[in-house]
C-alpha cells in the first residue's frame, strides 16, 4: 500500500496532496471496455442490417442522457460556489466535476449524428419551408457544435480553477463569509448561464425539432432542469457507492453530507415535476391540436402511456415519498436505490421524449438499443475514472466540514 502511495506521490507535483489507489480496479475498467466494444458492435451491425433508424435513436437518447448527467454535475459544482456551499469541504465540488471528461466525448459524438441525420431529423428528408432558415443541416450542426464546444471549454476552464489550491482552501474555510477566488467568481456564473442557454438550444434542436410542428416555450428549461437533476442524482449515487468502497471515516460516512445530497435529489425532483405539470396544464387547457398531439402520443396513447407513468414514478413519486424524512435521506441504501431508480427514470424520460417522434406505433427497444446504451454507459464510466479518483482523494483527506447544525 505505502509503495503505491509513494509512487503516486512522486508522479504528482509536490503541492498536490497524497493520491489514493484508483477507485476503478482493473476489472471495472475491463468491464467498461467490454461494454464499449459490445455497444459499438451492436451499432455497426444494426447499421449494416438495415435497422439504422433504431440504432440512431439509441445513439441520440444516450447522447442526450449522458451529456446531461455530465454537464448537470459540473453545473452543480458551479452552483455550489455561487451559493457558497461549504457543507462538505471540497468533496462535493470534486463530485460534480467527476464526470466532466464525457463533455468532450459527447462533443465529438454529437457530430456523429450527422451521419444519421436523415433518419433522426424529419426535416432533413421533408424540409419545412417556413422553418428552413433554422432547421437546416449546416446551421444546426454549426450552432449546436459551437454551443457544445463552448460549453466544454468553459466547463474545463472552470474545473481547472476549481481544482486549484485557492479554490480548495476556500471550500474548507467553513467559518468565513469571504467570497471564492476571483476567477471562480467569473467562471462559475459563466458555466451556469451558458448551461441554461446551450442546453435549451440542444433541447429545441435535438428533441423538439424531431416533431417540428410542436412547440413549448418551457421545453428548454424543463430539459436542462432534468439534466441538472440527473447530475445531482448521479452525484448522490456515486457518493453512496464510494462510501462503501473508500476507507474508514471517508467523508461520505458523515450523515450530514448524505442529508445534503438527499435534499438536492428531493428538491430538484419536485422542481422537475413542477415544470412538467406547468407544460401539461397549459397544453391541456388550451387544447390546441398543434400542441396537444405531442403529449397525447406520449401520455394518453399506447404503447407509450405506461412508460410516461413510469417516468413520473421513478423521477418524482419515489424520490418524493422515500426521501421526505430526514432519516431516509441519511440512509445510504435508500438514497442509493432512489438515485439509481431516478437515473433509470431520467433515461427513460429522454427515450420517451425522443423515440415516439421517430417510431410512434411500437417501442423499438430490443437487443440493439440495449447494447448501444450499455456501450454509452461504458464510455461514461471509463471517462469518469480520473474524476472519481479525485473525489476519493478529497473524501479521504480528512477535511473539516461546515458546521450547519440541523
Amino acid at each position: 500500500m505505502s509503495s503505491n502511495l509513494q509512487l503516486a506521490h512522486r508522479k504528482r507535483a509536490a503541492t498536490k496532496p497524497q493520491a489514493v489507489e484508483s477507485v476503478a480496479g482493473a476489472t471495472m475498467k475491463a468491464a467498461a471496455g467490454a461494454m464499449i466494444v459490445l455497444g459499438a458492435i451492436a451499432f455497426v451491425v444494426a447499421l449494416s442490417r438495415g435497422r439504422a433508424a433504431i440504432a440512431w435513436e439509441a445513439y441520440l437518447v444516450n447522447l442526450l442522457f449522458f451529456l446531461g448527467v455530465a454537464q448537470g454535475a459540473v453545473v452543480a459544482s458551479s452552483s455550489f460556489y455561487l451559493t457558497q456551499a461549504k457543507w462538505g469541504g471540497s468533496t462535493p465540488y470534486r463530485l460534480g466535476e467527476a464526470f466532466a471528461p464525457f463533455l468532450w466525448v459527447g462533443f465529438f459524438l454529437f457530430f456523429g449524428l450527422y451521419f444519421g441525420r436523415s433518419l433522426i431529423f424529419p426535416w432533413v428528408t421533408h424540409p419545412i419551408a417556413q422553418k428552413a432558415a433554422w432547421l437546416n443541416t449546416p446551421f444546426l450542426f454549426a450552432r449546436d457544435g459551437i454551443a457544445l464546444g463552448a460549453m466544454a471549454v468553459a466547463s474545463f476552464a472552470f474545473i481547472r480553477v476549481s481544482r486549484g489550491d485557492g479554490a480548495r482552501a476556500w471550500t474548507i474555510a467553513t467559518d468565513e463569509i469571504e467570497l471564492p477566488p476571483h476567477s471562480i467568481r467569473v467562471l462559475a456564473p459563466v458555466v451556469a448561464v451558458l448551461f441554461a442557454a446551450v442546453y435549451s438550444l440542444i433541447a429545441f434542436d435535438l428533441v423538439m425539432s424531431l416533431a417540428p410542428v410542436w412547440r413549448s416555450t418551457l421545453f428548454g428549461w424543463y430539459f436542462f432542469a432534468g439534466c441538472f437533476w440527473s447530475g445531482v442524482t448521479a452525484m448522490a449515487l456515486t457518493a453512496v457507492v464510494l462510501r462503501g468502497r473508500l476507507g474508514e471515516n471517508n467523508l461520505f460516512t458523515n450523515p450530514t453530507v448524505m442529508h445534503d445530497l438527499g435534499k438536492m435529489v428531493f428538491a430538484f425532483s419536485v422542481f422537475w415535476i413542477y415544470l412538467l405539470f406547468a407544460q401539461y396544464i397549459v397544453i391541456w387547457y388550451g387544447d390546441l391540436p398543434v400542441e396537444t398531439f405531442f403529449i397525447v402520443q406520449r401520455v394518453h396513447h399506447m404503447p407509450w402511456s405506461p412508460l410516461s407513468v413510469a417516468c413520473v414514478v421513478l423521477i418524482w413519486l419515489i424520490p418524493f415519498t422515500l426521501l421526505m424524512s430526514v432519516r431516509a435521506k441519511k440512509t445510504p441504501v435508500i438514497l442509493g436505490t432512489v438515485s439509481a431508480l431516478g437515473l433509470a427514470g431520467m433515461w427513460l424520460e429522454r427515450y420517451v421524449l425522443v423515440v415516439p417522434s421517430l417510431s410512434l406505433d411500437a417501442i423499438p427497444f430490443g437487443a440493439t438499443q440495449f447494447l448501444i446504451s450499455i456501450g454509452f454507459l461504458g464510455v461514461f464510466l471509463l471517462s469518469a475514472v480520473p474524476g472519481l479518483n479525485r473525489v476519493a482523494q478529497a473524501a479521504t483527506s480528512g477535511e473539516p466540514v461546515g458546521d450547519d447544525a440541523e
Binding site: Y274, A278, I281, I283
Partner: protein, 452 residues
C-alpha cells in the same frame, strides 16, 4: 464612511436590541406628515373607487378588446412583490443562508402588505363588488358553486392561502420579538406589546415547538410561493390568446416576481438604513447578496423574453407573429423598449461588485427594475389583448384618472402601511439577528476591512 479608521464593531445581543428597539421610539412630526400624505392619497383612491362602484366600470378606460389592463397589472405586480418576502424568509431559511436574518422581517412585512394590496384589485375590478364571495364555495339553496376548472377560482384559493400563510408565518416570527419589546416598553406601548406577545416567555418548551413549526411553515411556504405566482400566470396562460398562451409563463412569472420583489426590498431598505442609522445591522454584505438575487432573476427574465421571441418565430403562426411584432414595433413598442432596458440591460450593471454595494446606484437600479416589471405586466396583459385574433377587433386603451389614482393609491397604501408597521412593531428580527450574530460580526469586519 468616516475618514479615520474606526474600530471594528462587535455587536452584542444588547446592541442588537438597542438598535432595533430604537426604531420604535415615538416618532416626530415629519413621520406623521408622511403617514398623512400616504393616507391622503389612499383616501383619494378610495373615493374614486367608491365612485366607480356607484357608476360602474365605465369610468375606467377598459373597452373591448382590452378588458384587463391597469387593475390586473397592479394585481400581478403586487402579488409579485409579495413573493420576494417569502423567498427571503422561507426559502433562504431552508437554505440556511446567512445574510437573510437582517432583512427577512422587513421583506416578510412587505409580503403581507403587498398581498393585502394585491387582493384588493380583483375586488376593484369587479363591477358588482358586493358579490365577491361568489368566488368561494359556500353552501346555498341552488347549489351554485364556483367552477373549479377556471383559473380565476384557482387564483382565489391561491392568493387567500398565500395571505393566510404569510400572515401566520409573520406572526409566529414576531411573537418572540414582541415579547422582547414588551420588556423595554412603557405606558400604552407596554400594554399593546403584552397583549400581542400573548404571554410568550421563551421557555424551552415553547422554543421546541416553535422551531419545528417554523421549519415546517418555511417548508410549506416555499412550494406555496411558487404555486401562487404560477397560478396567477395561469390566469393568462390558460387562454388561447397569442402572447398569453405560453408554457413558460409559470416559472417565468415566479422569477419575475422575485426579481421585482427583491428590487422593492432594496428600494425600501436603503432609505430606511440611512434614516434610521442602522448601518451596523444592515451591512453592505447584505445588499451585495440582495443585488445578486436581482441579477440572477434578471437573467432568468431575459432568458424568458428571448425564448418567447424565438418560439414565436419558430412556430411561424401568423397571428402569434403579428402579436409579437405589434408588441415590439407597434404603438406601444416604446413600453417594450423601456421594459427591456429596465429589466434586461440596466441590471447587468450589477455584475460589478462595486455597484452592488454603492447604495445610490443600487437604489436607482432597483427603482428602474420596478418600473420595468410593472411595464412588463402591462405589455403582456393589455398589449396582447389589444391585438387579438381578428384585426377588426383590435382596439386601444388609455387609463382613466380613476385607474391612475387607484394605482398611485395602491403604492401609497403599501408604503404607508409599511411605514406604520416599522414604527410600532420590530422591523428587524432581534431573535434571528442574535441567532446569526457570528455572521453579522464577520460581515461588519469584512466591510470595514474592505473600506480601509
Amino acid at each position: 464612511m468616516a475618514a479615520a479608521p474606526k474600530a471594528i464593531p462587535e455587536p452584542s445581543f444588547r446592541d442588537i436590541d438597542r438598535s432595533v428597539l430604537r426604531v420604535m421610539e415615538p416618532a416626530g412630526l415629519a413621520y406623521w406628515a408622511w403617514i398623512g400624505f400616504c393616507f391622503t392619497l389612499v383616501a383619494i383612491a378610495a373615493g374614486l373607487w367608491a365612485r366607480q362602484i356607484y357608476s360602474g366600470l365605465g369610468v375606467t378606460g377598459l373597452r373591448q378588446p382590452v378588458m384587463w389592463a391597469v387593475y390586473i397589472t397592479n394585481f400581478v405586480f403586487w402579488v409579485g412583490i409579495a413573493h420576494s418576502g417569502t423567498l427571503i424568509s422561507a426559502i433562504l431559511f431552508l437554505f440556511r443562508t446567512k445574510w437573510r436574518t437582517a432583512v427577512y422581517r422587513a421583506a416578510e412585512t412587505m409580503t403581507i402588505f403587498a398581498v393585502a394590496t394585491a387582493g384588493l384589485f380583483p375586488l376593484i375590478h369587479l363591477g358588482r363588488v358586493w358579490f365577491f364571495y361568489w368566488l368561494l364555495p359556500y353552501p346555498n339553496e341552488r347549489s351554485l358553486q364556483p367552477d373549479f376548472r377556471s383559473p380565476l377560482v384557482w387564483d382565489a384559493f391561491a392568493v387567500s392561502t398565500y395571505l393566510t400563510i404569510s400572515a401566520l408565518f409573520w406572526t409566529m416570527g414576531l411573537i418572540p420579538d414582541i415579547a422582547n419589546a414588551r420588556e423595554a416598553a412603557t405606558g400604552w406601548r407596554k400594554k399593546f406589546y403584552t397583549v400581542l406577545a400573548m404571554g410568550w416567555q421563551g421557555t424551552d418548551r415553547q422554543w421546541r415547538h416553535y422551531s419545528m413549526a417554523y421549519l415546517l411553515m418555511a417548508g410549506l411556504a416555499t412550494p406555496l410561493v411558487v404555486s401562487v405566482h404560477s397560478v396567477v400566470s395561469w390566469d393568462f396562460a390558460m387562454a388561447q390568446l397569442p402572447g398569453w398562451h405560453s408554457t413558460i409563463f409559470a416559472p417565468y412569472f415566479v422569477a419575475g416576481a422575485i426579481f421585482s420583489g427583491v428590487a422593492m426590498v432594496i428600494t425600501l431598505l436603503i432609505p430606511m438604513r440611512k434614516m434610521l442609522g442602522i448601518e451596523d445591522l444592515l451591512t453592505e454584505w447584505h445588499f451585495d447578496n440582495l443585488a445578486k438575487v436581482v441579477l440572477l432573476t434578471s437573467l432568468v427574465v431575459s432568458y424568458s423574453y428571448i425564448t418567447e421571441t424565438f418560439m414565436a418565430w419558430y412556430a411561424g403562426d401568423p397571428i402569434e407573429l403579428m402579436t409579437f411584432r405589434m408588441r415590439y414595433f407597434g404603438p406601444w413598442g416604446w413600453m417594450f423598449g423601456m421594459m427591456v432596458l429596465c429589466n434586461c440591460l440596466i441590471p447587468l450593471l450589477l455584475f460589478s461588485p462595486r455597484i452592488r454595494v454603492n447604495m445610490i446606484a443600487l437604489w436607482v437600479i432597483s427603482i428602474f427594475v420596478n418600473i420595468g416589471m410593472w411595464l412588463e405586466r402591462f405589455v403582456i396583459i393589455a398589449g396582447s389583448l389589444r391585438v387579438n385574433f381578428e384585426p377588426s377587433q383590435w382596439g386601444s386603451y388609455h387609463p382613466s384618472i380613476t385607474e391612475i389614482m387607484i394605482t398611485v393609491g395602491s403604492f401609497a397604501w403599501f408604503v404607508g402601511l409599511f411605514s406604520l408597521f416599522s414604527r410600532f412593531l420590530p422591523i428587524f428580527s432581534m431573535t434571528e439577528l442574535k441567532e446569526g450574530i457570528v455572521w453579522l460580526r464577520k460581515a461588519l469586519k469584512m466591510d470595514r476591512v474592505k473600506a480601509a
